[in-house]
């Protein structure tokens, strides 16, 4: 027990009502009083409220996340660091993570998305890795919803505004419009960095007496309670008023911070480093001390401030961006400060590491907070919340139509699908992102997976982010499995071996049993698929409370997979290039219209989701990698939204010049489900005919069908029913989003 710090003049009184307004429950407040042995001060209450928030503590999800496979021969470092890392060969380590910035982006789309990018980049370079690529998974409401266009422009503008200015290419992503997100969009930002293995940093404090260095931007009032009140609560009519809890990004300072931190790391004078993300100074200092089993003492009078008169409460809880906390090796702080000063950044010693296990903050000579480190870093509540399937199983966010309204002829359906906002070209979005800076981008946005080279080596990486909320809404387990399969397939289509996963699990309010059930089933699906593919889950983030006025989003586990190339020159394109090549369909099962784009546009019979056999999925992935390594195929394209017909059209959209394809009649069953169904894991390959035999052997026992050939004449012919000019299909595909979201020419 510590002596209670005196209340500061004018501070609100601390009682249960104050705790509740901080988002804490009565039981949690009682637990705090028990751990403290007294009533906390107002400042301490603020500290507990953020550190015990769902966003920071993972109190509802931790129990389930612990069941995910995290180990693997290529995994480096233990859990608890800021991002996961894998060995990618030749002494290189890839560090990556995905994180949500959903609520801030709904309240203030530009800054919300921008700071989402900034935050995830800091998680990467705090590990000592230079960020070399970003991706984003974006979910908006219906494209004709009155708020959608504003949100899309803001979010895309914010991602571009930050990413372009900070000099990290945005190389891939995904975008979906669905009414299930009308009141709660999703913005999940991924970043990947490269480090030499020996340069990897830790966020585990060590060395009693070591100085604590504050570097980067000054602290302001922005973002206070972003983690507790904004991220860890659902939306209601008053959410507009939460706009001041959204931080403001400064990508220029972040760029300086990246360069300065990477330079500082090279000095060897850093004992531990962590960015100030959610809950800012409080979380970074207490988490670093907690991991090291140590204490920390902070002198808040030394913190660089943007304006005078910030209270200790505000200084500790500010989520001002572009700030890092460093534990320096004793006596080497001046050496580090010199690096930051060269980059015109603040670098101030604001405290030191102690051996007493207390988290202590002083302000104007007086102790204002004195808390056992473990109470905020480890002893946050852990909940095993009840989970139960909803009754009936399908809620209103499931696919809305179960009966066909009208079935267009196949050619008209293909045209409509190519122009559908969920299928059409994403060029409108990715043209606003710098995808080239750093000179590593072998394949940028628009394909199945992005491909990056690793300079000075033959090696490379492929990366992709995917999600499948429609399938998850029908079956949260199968949907999660399908999502992992799709992300892995995209990476394997590019020719890379899927190596590891990072995930962002977006769900509604976990206090509702049916939401918790969706979450638990989603984690189970992720676990099963990650095990089957030997792709450990090395980092991730959970975003709960994605609901507005009691209406939850469709369950949306977002999965990003990074794959590795031993030789990146073996990467495979997604489009046809050589007339005369055989076109081959490889699939693990027959497709279904359930959760398909076709069903969304035209309605469908009440199909069930295609079951998934993970052994067959693994065969498909291994086969794709083998095909690339043996140079047997000229292209590989994943079949996703819109089914085989759309995938064939996309494969004809060679960016140099449109290719053609002729699919022989009856090669694909003449059924709507066969042409436009989804769910089954399928890929479209093109290859010289002499390699057909090898392809059959590689993929056995999967279904391998030779369905046609690539033609020089740029027409897409599928059996007797579709015969379209590829250029015309391309125009539909390219013009759809500009037509709906605003032209940029």
């Amino acid at each position: 027990m510590s002596q209670a710090p005196a209340a500061l003049p004018g501070e609100p009184r601390v009682d249960l009502a104050a705790a509740r307004s901080h988002g804490l429950t009565a039981a949690e407040f009682a637990a705090i009083e028990r751990l403290m042995g007294r009533t906390p001060t107002f400042t301490e209450l603020g500290v507990f409220s953020v550190m015990w928030s769902e966003h920071c503590s993972y109190k509802s999800s931790r129990k389930h996340l612990q069941t995910l496979p995290r180990e693997g021969p290529n995994v480096i470092g233990g859990p608890g660091e800021n991002a996961g890392a894998i060995d990618v060969g030749d002494g290189w380590v890839a560090v990556f993570k995905i994180e949500s910035h959903n609520h801030p982006s709904y309240v203030e789309p530009y800054q919300g998305a921008a700071t989402g990018v900034g935050g995830i980049l800091r998680d990467i370079f705090t590990m000592g890795a230079r960020p070399i690529a970003s991706m984003d998974s974006l979910k908006f409401g219906a494209i004709d919803h009155p708020r959608t266009r504003y949100l899309v422009n803001g979010v895309v503008g914010g991602i571009g505004g930050y990413g372009n200015c900070v000099g990290v290419p945005t190389v891939a992503g995904e975008l979906m419009f669905d009414p299930g997100y009308n009141g709660n969009i999703l913005v999940n930002a991924f970043a990947l960095g490269l480090a030499r293995r020996e340069d990897l940093q830790s966020a585990r404090a060590r060395g009693v007496g070591n100085p604590v260095l504050y570097v980067g931007s000054a602290t302001g009032r922005d973002g206070i309670h972003g983690a507790s009140l904004l991220a860890s609560a659902e939306f209601d009519a008053g959410s507009e008023a939460k706009r001041p809890t959204v931080q403001v990004g400064d990508p220029f300072t972040e760029k300086l911070l990246i360069e300065a931190c990477l330079e500082a790391i090279k000095t060897g004078a850093i004992a531990a480093i962590q960015d100030m993300g959610a809950a800012g100074l409080t979380s970074s200092s207490s988490e670093m001390a907690g991991r090291g089993g140590l204490g920390v003492e902070l002198d808040l009078d030394r913190v660089p401030l943007r304006e005078a008169n910030l209270s200790p409460y505000e200084i500790l809880l500010s989520e001002s961006q572009e700030r890092m906390l460093i534990v320096a090796e004793h006596g080497r702080e001046a050496e580090l400060a010199a690096v930051f000063e060269r980059w015109d950044l603040h670098a101030v010693v604001i405290g030191r590491i102690t051996g007493d296990g207390r988290w202590r903050a002083r302000f104007k000579g007086q102790v204002v907070a004195d808390i056992p480190v473990a109470a905020i870093s480890d002893d946050a509540p852990l909940y095993d919340r009840p989970a139960a399937p909803p009754a009936p199983l399908r809620d209103s966010s499931s696919p809305r139509l179960t009966t066909a309204i009208s079935r267009p002829d196949p050619a008209a359906a293909l045209r409509a699908l190519l122009a559908s906002p969920n299928v059409a070209s994403r060029r409108w979005v990715f043209r606003q992102y710098d995808s080239l800076v750093l000179s590593n981008t072998v394949a940028g946005p628009g394909g199945d997976a992005a491909v990056l080279r690793i300079k000075g080596s033959r090696r490379g990486l492929a990366l992709k982010v995917d999600s499948n909320p429609r399938a998850c809404a029908i079956d949260p387990y199968l949907g999660a499995v399908a999502t992992v399969c799709e992300a892995a397939r995209n990476v394997a289509c590019a020719g890379a071996r899927p190596a590891a996963i990072t995930n962002c699990l977006n769900y509604g309010n976990p206090e509702r049993p049916e939401i918790m059930w969706q979450f638990v089933r989603g984690v189970a699906g992720l676990r099963a698929a990650a095990r089957a593919f030997a792709t450990p889950v090395i980092s991730g983030n959970v975003s709960f409370y994605n609901e507005t006025e009691g209406r939850a989003i469709p369950p949306t586990p977002t999965i990003a997979i990074v794959g590795t190339f031993a030789d990146v020159s073996l990467n495979v394109k997604h489009y046809f290039s050589f007339p005369g090549d055989a076109i081959v369909l490889v699939r693990t099962a027959a497709p279904s219209l359930a959760a398909s784009e076709y069903a969304d546009l035209f309605g469908a019979a009440d199909d069930a989701l295609t079951p998934i056999d993970l052994g067959r999925e693994r065969r498909l992935l291994d086969g794709l990698v083998e095909c690339a390594q043996r140079r047997l195929i000229r292209s590989a394209h994943d079949v996703s939204e819109g089914g085989i017909a759309v995938a064939l059209a996309e494969a004809c959209f060679n960016p140099a010049a449109p290719a053609g394809a002729e699919i022989v009649p009856d090669a694909i069953d003449a059924s709507v489900a066969a042409w436009f169904g989804e769910g089954a894991s399928s890929v479209i390959l093109s290859l010289p005919a002499e390699n057909l035999k090898a392809i059959h052997e590689i993929f056995a026992p999967l279904e391998v069908r030779s369905i046609g050939r690539v033609t020089a004449a740029p027409r897409l012919k599928i059996g007797r029913q579709i015969d379209e000019e590829v250029a015309a299909l391309m125009r539909l595909y390219e013009d759809a989003l500009p037509g709906r979201l605003g032209r940029h020419d």
């Binding site: 200015c165 000099g167 990508p251 043209r431 992102y433 800076v437 000179s439 080279r453 020419d745």
Partner: protein, 229 residues
């Protein structure tokens, strides 16, 4: 040949320029720090792409006051070769080492894409490795690349052959649809009157390897390397 690539705070493509020069083209290239005044004996100074000082005020408006820019101005006045790419072009205009200015794209949006450029004057140190009228496919990535200048200035630029690159379509025609930012007269790159300072919005340093963006950008660097010999 010896190259110097300036690094301002917020420069982003400086590493790419160094990579292109050293690793793809086998040139000798060094990084020059904005706070220094020395150009390290460089025979060509490159002002790279990026967002110098965040470009929060106006692109290039603050970078032009960097200590190194005094040396760059002197170097240019002495006839030294200066290449400004994207943000570097903006800085050169702000520093009045090149005529005109670069304003927000007509679309008001950032644009990253590959474009076709037509070489308008191949008799300069920056373009001599290309044929007159040759088409180069290079990437652009900018939010403020719309070249503007007063009408009489534009006329003079035309007459003196200072317009080195124009945005064109695949057939080589300078159409409005092929103009990605609304630049006046489709101008993508201009030189000064002495033809020793050249600024362009496209990024030649991102088109020097067949596996990444093609090799059209080599023409610019090879021209300069040849000119200095």
């Amino acid at each position: 040949m010896k190259w110097g690539v300036v690094r301002f705070p917020g420069s982003l493509d400086d590493g790419d320029a160094l990579w292109a020069l050293r690793d793809a083209l086998g040139q000798e290239a060094a990084s020059l720090w904005h706070k220094d005044e020395t150009l390290g004996g460089a025979e060509c100074v490159v002002l790279p792409g990026g967002f110098s000082y965040g470009d929060y005020l106006r692109c290039g408006a603050i970078a032009r006051f960097s200590p190194i820019m005094k040396s760059v101005a002197r170097f240019a006045a002495d006839g030294g070769l200066v290449l400004g790419i994207c943000n570097g072009f903006q800085i050169l205009c702000e520093a009045h080492l090149l005529p005109g200015a670069l304003t927000r794209n007509r679309s008001l949006a950032f644009v990253c894409d590959f474009v076709n450029l037509r070489v308008e004057n191949a008799a300069t140190p920056f373009t001599r490795a290309a044929r007159p009228g040759e088409l180069l496919r290079l990437p652009i990535k900018h939010g403020e690349g719309r070249y503007v200048a007063p009408e009489d200035e534009l006329r003079q630029l035309e007459e003196r052959g200072q317009i080195l690159l124009r945005y064109v379509d695949e057939s080589g025609a300078a159409t409005d649809a092929a103009n990605p930012n609304g630049a006046m007269r489709s101008i993508a790159g201009v030189a000064n009157e002495r033809f020793n300072v050249f600024g362009l919005m496209p990024h030649p340093e991102h088109a020097v390897e067949a596996a990444l963006g093609g090799v059209a950008g080599r023409k610019i660097f090879e021209s300069i390397a040849g000119a200095a010999r």
